[in-house]
């Protein structure tokens, strides 16, 4: 019987290494066997880095043999979203325009996890340049939800969420600009974290919307995401937006009492559009928190209904600027058969970018163009301030906020591709966190029957996520709440 590590946590890896029950090489091989079995079903990985990983595993085994203390991620198989640069490993952003790009350096987050002993098993599929909510915008085909192959895993970090859910990696890195970690975590039944803006360096994260982009962790337990965040968090001189705010030990405080915490429940997040069985699960989740001694209070975040409109102006404006760099000159795809330099730019970008990326570049260029800047971009920045003010006001009286992560469970592949606006609305509960720059976490909160209980999906159940939002740099409290929620059995 070969080793099965598909449900292992970081603690399980370390226990096995310490006890000599399994070597890092054996753990790694087990992860690759799982990838070979599962990846053809769900298309989570764009690159699998077996040779490099096995060499690193051998190095970890040498350290274990010489009785060195285990680094926090020693021997842990990690998947990395393909918008995060990995030196020498092709990084495509799931785009044709970067189809052959091999980065000359690694992102700070990647350097930090590797310095902490992590073993990168591969690069995960996602929406092109992280633009999407379903992973259907990848130039290399959609990812399928491990719980139902007819459904999306969520997006844009769908491959990272699916890789962790299907046991192909212990933890993963993703990025979240409007919900791209939390929403797929919810759809795939894993834990996903949006750290505070500035908590994690974005050096080497391919930029989509710089005032909203965050790198964050996925895991199958709250303790694992807390461990991974503690490794990647903290000031980086190479990212001037990374905050010089001390990083607490997230793991050591997981067990401290949560009794007396005041939890705000914003009525705007439980209104029209929320599926009734998702609402029921999150209400059960709130009851678990109440049983742990938290006080649940109703609050209001009155500008919530403006968040999506605000986001799709700011995000597309920033995207149009950030993606101007793909011109076929210095890296990536270049169109053939061009008549001039400007013809080369236009043809390269037309052939290199997919439909959604072009749509966002066009919207962003439009809202920034002469005569429209004040009416759209400036207006959106002001509304962003109002959304943020709502949160600041709420956090004067509550310690954390609880909401559903997404209004529905995973939807069907193709269900929302015809109408971009309908797709955007699936981010309704997560987008506010990015606008305000506050930390958020999605923790599994029970299962619901597949909505259209027929066809090949008949009898299946889909996971639901509960979102916790906190004050700036207060991730530790979210981890404590979510960990104790999990230890209390969560919601079935």
């Amino acid at each position: 019987m070969s080793l099965d590590v598909s449900r292992w946590t970081i603690d399980d890896v370390h226990r096995a290494l310490r006890a000599g029950e399994a070597s890092a090489a054996e753990i790694c091989s087990a992860a690759f066997s799982r990838i070979a079995e599962e990846n053809p079903k769900n298309n989570s990985f764009l690159a699998v880095t077996e040779e490099r990983a096995m060499a690193r595993a051998a190095e970890i085994d040498r350290r274990v043999a010489s009785q060195e203390a285990l680094a926090p991620l020693a021997g842990v198989p990690v998947a990395v979203k393909d918008v995060i640069l990995t030196e020498g490993i092709r990084t495509t952003c799931a785009s044709r325009i970067l189809g052959n790009f091999v980065p000359p350096y690694s992102a700070t987050a990647v350097q930090r996890i590797e310095a902490a002993g992590a073993i990168i098993v591969g690069k995960t599929n996602c929406d092109e340049f992280a633009m999407g909510s379903s992973n259907e915008n990848s130039a290399f085909g959609p990812v399928r939800n491990p719980h139902d192959p007819e459904r999306v895993p969520g997006g844009s970090s769908g491959g990272s969420a699916a890789a962790v859910a299907a046991g192909m990696a212990v933890v993963a890195l993703g990025s979240d600009t409007g919900g791209s970690i939390r929403q797929p975590a919810s759809f795939c039944g894993v834990v996903g974290v949006l750290p505070t803006y500035g908590r994690v360096s974005r050096y080497g994260l391919v930029a989509y919307a710089s005032s909203l982009d965050h790198i964050g962790p996925f895991g199958r337990s709250v303790k694992d995401v807390a461990t991974l965040l503690s490794v990647i968090a903290g000031r980086d001189p190479l990212d001037s937006t990374s905050a010089a705010v001390p990083v607490p030990d997230y793991v050591s405080t997981l067990g401290e009492p949560v009794k007396g915490f005041k939890i705000g429940v914003p009525r705007e997040y439980f209104a029209e559009g929320l599926a009734s069985d998702v609402r029921a699960r999150v209400e059960s989740g709130l009851k678990v928190l109440r049983d742990l001694g938290c006080e649940i209070v109703d609050i209001t975040l009155p500008h919530t209904e403006y968040a999506i409109a605000c986001y799709y102006i700011i995000a597309t404006a920033e995207a149009s600027s950030n993606l101007a760099r793909y011109d076929g000159v210095r890296y990536g795809y270049r169109a053939a058969g061009v008549s001039s330099l400007s013809d080369m730019y236009r043809k390269t970008r037309d052939q290199g970018f997919g439909t959604e990326v072009k749509r966002r570049i066009m919207l962003g260029t439009y809202v920034l163009s002469a005569g429209y800047y004040e009416a759209y971009y400036r207006k959106a920045q002001k509304v962003r301030a109002l959304v943020t003010r709502d949160f600041n006001k709420a956090f004067e009286t509550v310690d954390a906020i609880v909401t559903p992560t997404a209004p529905t469970p995973a939807f069907r592949i193709g269900e929302k591709t015809a109408d971009p606006l309908e797709m955007y609305l699936s981010d309704i509960y997560t987008i506010t966190g990015n606008l305000a720059g506050i930390p958020g976490l999605s923790v599994p909160c029970g299962w619901v029957p597949v909505p259209d209980n027929g066809g090949a999906s008949g009898g299946r159940k889909l996971p639901v996520g509960m979102q916790l939002l906190g004050r700036h740099f207060d991730e530790a409290r979210l981890f404590r709440l979510a960990h104790q929620f999990e230890m209390a059995g969560g919601v079935q």
């Binding site: 937006t241 999506i308 890296y331 002001k382 509304v383």
Partner: protein, 99 residues
């Protein structure tokens, strides 16, 4: 309609995108629908609100600046490693200046 085909083609020019005819038609419809939706923001009176350009937290102004010191950049060979076309230590593109 807020958005016409002429608008889309003008913006595509600004964005250096060459659009196929069917892409243009689809974008007219999509952009019109999305820009119609975002007009919702005009329900709010924001005259007294300061625009939020980025996420701020309490910190001294220069805290996020790194020390101004030398550090090696990427070597030329690595910098050119991903170039579609390069030569003589340069990125090569189609001729720009006629003579």
């Amino acid at each position: 309609m807020r958005i016409t085909e002429k608008d889309v083609l003008y913006v595509a020019g600004l964005a250096n995108l060459e659009l196929a005819a069917e892409e243009t038609a689809r974008l007219v419809a999509d952009m019109d629908s999305i820009l119609g939706y975002v007009e919702k923001l005009n329900e709010l009176d924001t005259t007294a609100v300061e625009a939020m350009a980025q996420v701020l937290y309490e910190a001294p102004e220069t805290l996020t600046l790194r020390e101004d010191s030398d550090r090696p950049g990427l070597p030329q060979e690595k910098s050119l490693g991903n170039a579609p076309e390069s030569g003589a230590g340069q990125f090569k593109v189609a001729k720009v200046i006629e003579r």
